[in-house]
Point group: C2
Chain length 558, copies 2
């Protein structure tokens, strides 16, 4: 333990500093370059993934399963992967976790942090395998699969480890308390323990199976809680590989592998509710739809600590800019990235009826919509770029939503279509469609339309755009907001109103940085301040609520 | 503003250091000495209190009321105080608070902290008036009324201000984020705001009207939220005086008094639910019974942030000690202090059937019970001490509970009685009673019996005592635990089991320090880790959840 702890101490301290500086920091290189990851890394990762297809996933060390189950299928091939995973009944998983709690909670925070960083090193060695597993479960293009499920996820996990370690060591372990009473001094020796809450459950989603799972998973682990990872049944493999790496390091340090378990759904029933409602489960992290998220949040009244990332309605406020072509290029990329299947993807574009001020020119509303449609269309039709940006559609329901939207009679500025993918002829794809609405048609733009659906909403002026964007965020949640304005007063109005709506704002982005991107150690992902979710990667609250400060005192002389 | 901020900066910094050192620190002297508070302070405070009786309380600056209402009565006189307070409908209070939100949230955290410390200085100048108001609403004896409602409460308020200020300034307000991409650098200028949640409600209790109210009140205020203080209808005056001091300082700084309002119940209906359920109310602090507390916690599913202190079952574990007489003297004081009406008062005394090891001697169970009963009896019968320790009974229901308990047929080791109080012949008093139960009679010792009721519970051994104390704390909550053991293994077992039950433990206390006492800046009051409540005075979570970090970014060149 001592060696591992020393080995990773510098990384841990660097990560803590990064959390406070909030300048650029990344511990895991985001580009899949041969000179970083080795010349054969990609080929080996792909081969490792290929070898798993049609096989039981036998890498976990959590005991004899009750059954082998699996339901994954590739959005690129629209074929089952035929990989099976060991199934354990919920009560078995909880019972295993309870037994593993003792040895895990008794370690020092520094030792737990080091073990987890060691596991992230193991994950790093498998980034390419995880990338191919992510592609063929989520439908993300390769580069996003690599970055989001690999280095970006590992950075978010390290961030959670650093924050958790810092909070657990922020107060003294002991102090002498000498109270002068006039006649004499009362002296007490006081000690404090950071006591983990108990069994933790992390419920994953189908689109970002590692990125959205590892923050809660590593936050609960570093604070001493045993974790059950319950992945979405359609996206198991990417996070199974991470769990396997954690288990390897635990076992190597003489600890039970069951400190971190994978708990998959049975083929004939979902086990999430059973796990979540088990009285021994004290902590729940959830990423997914709002309806089930609200149910998970209702479990707070049973004394459970709950972290959620649900859904939101993300807005773009277009007021004024220097170069409208650069703006629409940037936004076209944002809406096309993974075909709008990101929780940070923009949906509602608020445009003043008088148009957008571009330098000295007022570009009419219709022209702004047309430029946006053209930019989106241009990207989707670009055979060199489109497959690598748009990827494939994870869930057939997303494609159905797009079709249904086209039948609602809204004015259509851009129709959806296929995205040609020479490598995967059978890929499930869908290019973005754009509809025009009026500011009065609130019922049509007040919900998340998950997937590649864009709405241009004509407003009286930018004040109305701001009012609507803020109101939607307050009432229905929002995870991102892009705003374009060269007017300082309007900028402050946007910051003020969106801050009250708990929504971060990216101003005037053009070029190679996009509103959807959220950088570990700098950007808080989800603020916790609106209905899109109560968790934030990674503010202090995200780790603090996973343990309890308990104090002890006794006469100093005893 | 600048002057006030500079004036209190040193105090603020000292308080933050104290939070981290957790050694002894107090900013407000706890002894009501003439050389500290002035030779006439007591007489003036008493006169000020007397002058309020039978009068409308006209010191608040929150606008024309709808009515004047009041229901307080003195437990020492069993007579109404006939003081009336301005009544405002819940929607008026919320509307006022919403209007006051803007100017308050736009101040810097340092300015808000300074204004609040200035208000605490005003409170300090009225500690004696507050003490007499506390006596004649809660039934506390004078010294406790002074200390708990005055300096100890002010220290807890300062602690919340310090913690809130520190958390709001812990992250940078801005940073330059430079990401190297290989070809070029992406530079973003990032800023962050700590955004208050919105209107806050603080619901007080009848026994500690300022001590339990000011932490949530000052925590919400320092983080920029306008506060509505809803006191218990039987204990309004002590906190009304504090609210008046806050309003004075706000107005003196050109701010609306309605940033901090007093919202009393109407004479014919309670307004707490209406206030709590108002959608604009985002934060709720609550001290009181478990049933209503559970209802308040259920409002979390409406997205409200809730802090509760409910009730618990506090245990004493008697295993071994050096001097049993000193132990029972200490415990007798703890159970007699304010006649057991403290949330930290011990109730269940777990004693091994074989007895308690005292040095080389094993003192039989029966003798331990007898010694405890004698010590309690001795204190209650001591005319010089009893009135000043036991005070009076706040609520007639507490006295009824004592009588009902006497009719249940449990073996009675000490009967309840009156406590003579020469100063207040008509005081509602009740001395502690002690009943003996068996470890198997769990249904009889698994609930809080609020007031001066003690249970001696005979266990197989100390392991069973620990198991039961921890189980009760886990299932029903606990706020304190006293343990007496000279055995290091048992001590560790107690620490381990009670820490998992989220309960602080005081070991081997004798002399002038008691398990009920909880010191600001050092002891966390309530851990938040068991059903006794989810709030803890003052851990970082207690202030963090009152605001949201929201980030903004833009190209560094824009």
């Amino acid at each position: 333990m001592i060696n591992t702890t020393q080995k990773h101490q510098a990384t841990l301290e660097q990560a803590i500093r990064a959390l406070h500086n909030r300048t650029y920091f990344s511990h895991y290189p985001e580009n899949p370059l041969p000179d970083v990851y080795g010349p054969d890394a990609d080929a080996q990762g792909r081969a490792a993934y290929d070898a798993r297809r049609g096989q039981p996933y036998a890498e976990l060390q959590q005991g004899e399963p009750e059954a082998w189950v699996g339901q994954e299928e590739s959005p690129y091939e629209q074929q089952p992967l035929h990989i099976t995973y060991p199934y354990y009944a919920p009560e078995t998983l909880v019972c295993n976790a309870q037994q593993a709690f003792g040895p895990w909670r008794k370690l020092k925070p520094a030792d737990r942090a080091a073990i987890l960083i060691e596991a992230l090193e193991g994950m790093k060695a498998r980034f390419f395998e995880i990338a191919h597993a992510t592609m063929h479960t989520t439908g993300q293009a390769f580069l996003m699969s690599f970055q989001a499920s690999g280095p970006h996820a590992a950075d978010r996990a390290l961030e959670a480890v650093a924050a958790g370690y810092e909070e657990q060591t922020r107060l003294p372990e002991q102090a002498q308390w000498d109270k002068p009473t006039g006649k004499y001094t009362i002296s007490l020796r006081k000690t404090w323990r950071a006591v983990p809450k108990g069994v933790a459950l992390v419920i994953g989603c189908a689109t970002f199976p590692t990125w959205n799972t590892v923050p809660g998973m590593f936050a609960s682990l570093v604070t001493g809680n045993p974790v059950i990872v319950k992945p979405h049944p359609k996206a198991v493999l990417p996070i199974a590989l991470v769990v396997a790496e954690v288990q390897k390091v635990l076992v190597a340090h003489g600890l039970p592998a069951t400190i971190c378990q994978l708990g998959v759904d049975a083929d004939d029933r979902l086990i999430t509710r059973e796990l979540a409602e088990n009285p021994a489960v004290k902590l729940i992290d959830y990423t997914g739809g709002t309806e089930f998220g609200n149910y998970i949040e209702s479990l707070q009244s049973q004394g459970k600590v709950v972290f959620t990332e649900k859904t939101g309605v993300n807005s773009v406020i277009l007021d004024s800019c220097g170069d409208l072509d650069k703006v629409v290029q940037n936004l076209a990329f944002s809406v096309s990235l993974y075909s709008g299947q990101m929780c940070t993807a923009p949906q509602n574009f608020f445009i003043p009826e008088a148009g957008v001020q571009v330098g000295d020119t007022l570009v009419p509303y219709e022209e702004v919509v047309q430029k946006l449609a053209s930019a989106v269309q241009g990207l989707a039709a670009n055979p060199k770029a489109a497959p690598h940006v748009l990827g494939a559609i994870q869930n057939p329901a997303t494609q159905e939503r797009v079709v249904q939207m086209s039948q609602r009679g809204h004015r259509n500025a851009l129709a959806h279509g296929q995205v040609d993918n020479p490598q995967f002829q059978n890929a499930r794809t869908c290019s973005p469609s754009l509809y025009e609405l009026d500011a009065t048609q609130k019922e049509h733009f007040s919900q998340e339309l998950f997937g590649p659906i864009l709405l241009a909403i004509k407003t009286k002026d930018t004040h109305e755009s701001i009012r609507l964007a803020a109101e939607l965020a307050r009432k229905h949640g929002a995870i991102s907001c892009a705003a374009y304005t060269t007017n300082p007063e309007l900028k402050e109005e946007i910051m003020d109103q969106m801050s009250l709506a708990g929504t971060p704002v990216s101003f005037n982005l053009t070029g190679g940085i996009y509103v959807n991107q959220s950088a570990a150690f700098s950007d808080f992902h989800v603020t916790g301040g609106n209905p899109a979710g109560n968790a934030s990667f990674t503010n202090p609250e995200f780790v603090l609520k996973r343990f309890t400060w308990v104090g002890f005192r006794e006469p100093a002389t005893s």
